[in-house]
């Protein structure tokens, strides 16, 4: 068997040995399924007034309704799609951009490194959530602006990581041998170095998804989410005024956020352990 296949199989085996990672994966799969099945389970828009306002859970409605009579369960199902979508897309953008910037800085070093790292530092000096609020407020709330805001505040961490990896790989003899073969820089960076620093990037990316979901929820909670799209943060925000009289409006979406973020973190940890087996056998 060729190493990529064998390595993948080995990775899966090590991952499967980690029980909490498997639990995380199961929860994540359930959330994914929920997001996919939302249009079938609740064909109507989640903003539709489904029944009597503030009806308690486990009656006519599984998780009750909010103060406008919207079905909380329908909101959670549709919100799952929003959360996952924004989490994945913004992470993809942040990782791509961060890897590119960090890779260039680490590979070329010198002035390019200095410049790119100073830019990264400027981004890192601004508290990320407040920065995200400012960005969304400036661009006017929508799915796209949320994704952009989250990506902009998340890429510097990835860039720092990628820079460190590229910097150390740059000195490896296999890279030196590629240079002496006359290989171009782009090819060395993407075909030779990048595959060798994928594992830390994958782990970081998985944890970034969780952070992105949290930021998205926070933005929506503050009313800075896309007004036409149902989201967990929006539900929590809408229900906070009736927290004492109708606890279920906030609580269930809150649990959804908690569980999803926890699941992604567990999976990320599991991936980390599986990709760095030496650290784990200690």
């Amino acid at each position: 068997m060729s190493p990529p296949q064998a390595a993948l199989k080995d990775l899966a085996r090590r991952f499967a040995r980690n029980r909490s990672a498997l639990v995380g994966l199961a929860i994540l799969a359930a959330v994914l399924l929920l997001a996919a099945a939302a249009p079938l389970l609740y064909p109507a828009t989640p903003f539709a007034l489904a029944g009597k306002p503030v009806s308690p859970p486990f009656g006519n409605f599984l998780l009750g309704t909010d103060m406008l009579g919207r079905d909380v369960a329908a909101g959670i199902a549709h919100g799952a799609k929003t959360s996952l979508l924004i989490g994945l897309v913004s992470t993809a953008v942040a990782v791509t951009f961060g890897t590119l910037a960090g890779g260039l800085a680490g590979y070329y070093g010198g002035r390019i490194d200095g410049l790119l790292m100073r830019i990264t530092e400027i981004f890192q000096t601004i508290p990320s959530f407040i920065f995200a609020i400012v960005l969304v407020a400036v661009m006017s709330p929508s799915i796209a602006s949320t994704v952009i805001a989250i990506s902009v505040v998340s890429w510097p961490g990835v860039a720092r990581l990628a820079r460190g990896e590229f910097l150390s790989m740059r000195q490896r003899e296999y890279v030196q041998s590629c240079i002496s073969l006359g290989m171009g820089d782009a090819r060395i960076m993407f075909a030779q170095i990048l595959p060798n620093c994928l594992s830390p990037l994958v782990v970081t990316a998985s944890l970034l998804v969780a952070t992105a979901i949290l930021i998205e929820s926070g933005l929506a909670f503050l009313g800075l989410g896309d007004p036409n799209v149902m989201s967990w943060g929006f539900q929590v925000g809408a229900g906070r005024t009736v927290l004492r009289t109708a606890w279920w409006v906030c609580t269930f979406p809150g649990f959804a956020i908690l569980l999803t973020v926890l699941a992604i973190n567990l999976v990320g940890e599991g991936l980390n352990d599986a990709l760095n087996p030496r650290l784990r056998n200690r």
């Binding site: 190493p3 041998s177 240079i179 073969l181 006359g182 290989m183 056998n281």
Partner: protein, 545 residues
Amino acid sequence: MAGADDIILRVEGLRVDLPAGVERPHAVEDASFTLGRREVLCLVGESGSGKSITARAIMGLLPPQVVASAGRILFGDEDLLKVAPERLRAIRGSDIAMIFQEPMTALNPLMTIGDQIDEVLRSHGGGAGAARRARILALLADVHLPEPERLLHAYPHQLSGGQRQRAMIAMALVLEPKIIIADEPTTALDVTTQAQILSLIRELQAKHATGVLFITHDFGVVAEIADRVAVMRHGRLVEVDAAERILTAPRHPYTRLLLDAVPGGKLRPPAGTEARPVVLSVKRLAKTFRSGGGFLGRGRRVVRALKEVSLELHRGETLGLVGESGSGKSTLARCVIRLVEPDSGEVALGDVSLTGISARALRRQRARIQMVFQDPYASLNPRYRIGRLVADGLLINGVAPAAARARAAELLELVGIEAAAAERYPHEFSGGQRQRICIARALALGPEVLVADEPVSALDVSVQAQVLRLLADLRDRLHLSILFITHDLRVAAEVCDRIAVMQNGEIVEHGASAAIFTAPRHAYTRALFASIPGRRAGAQGTGPT
């Protein structure tokens, strides 16, 4: 020779198990030997032979999941495999001490030398402060460290490699142990330092009447220090005998093979290469490294790695660049193939200058000069099949994929790797095979000049010989010119037509190998020769030839 009552350590039928899923079930199998008082027993073997594991089993320092499953290790009448951990801890240090290969990692970088030695004394109840201090000072003088008073307060990084190893030895000796286990204590050192450390170990061993279990892979070192020799292979002892007998009349074929593989300083016959045209000329090449220096550029360290070095390489010849670590030989190699930008000077390949041309023009010239690196484990990208790795150079130079693959297969055959193996990944090959693959890759573009930076120093001796033969064979068949960088004079003697000796960024002597070897002019060259381990045996006419 040790009599029966003089034996202080007796290993009987030792077996050490490896965790499941490793290539062999036992690291050590059925190993039995004895160590006498006042005796140096050398445990010799290639990498993976189980020699270090044996030493660690004695110290009770086996890595997790590796267990001694059978046999006895008798120290006096105690079985070290069975004693309580507290007892073992008491024995370690006070009765059995260990010296490690890499003193930089074996010493605590955050503690002064004095404190580290003192800690050993204190943890074994070593008396009052002043008495301990006097003892440490005496000991530091014993291992010939200069200015013991000052060294008490020095940190490991402030010492040279040789001094650190001396400090380690002082630390091992502080409780007057009955046994010292030395695990490749000189492998990380330069030859001149190695010679000093070996004679120091000899001297102290005689003075303190210690038994020394000395682990090494180098038969030169064995000839220098051993009373008796135990040869290990694949976890088994193949031969245990007195050093003279092992070195002169080995009975086991494996021992003979190892001895034959030792580069013996057998001179290459002069080929008169100096009359041939010059393919590579280096003129007044200089490189200075500046490091450290924080924000305001204070406390900068400046190292002049190359001080206006000039040399010429003729067609079809091997020029050896010999020197110790820090002499600038690797910097020179990297400047020549332009992996490092020289500060000044010129490198010319035939009539094309490699310095002062654009990056694009340089990339076109790169095919003509290729490099083989020291560490075959680090110089192949683990993510690609070796066929692809060898073909890479051709692919980026616009050769069609099918043709490149076919050529890669030919090249692999040329270096003695089956073409069918092209579909396999680097980790499936041994160190020697990987170095062959690296050579195939370097040859793919049909270079005129090959720069080989310590190409065999990471390999076992038996493999070293094969790779050196391959290089010599390729040079003759393909009319290659090789710039061969090595720290090992024995290797240089075997493969080089001419030799340049480097010290502190300068070439102090150069000339035909035969001339340099028979009549070295420079004092440093003479010092290097005097330090070659195993010359004692060689002088008696018993050394490997």
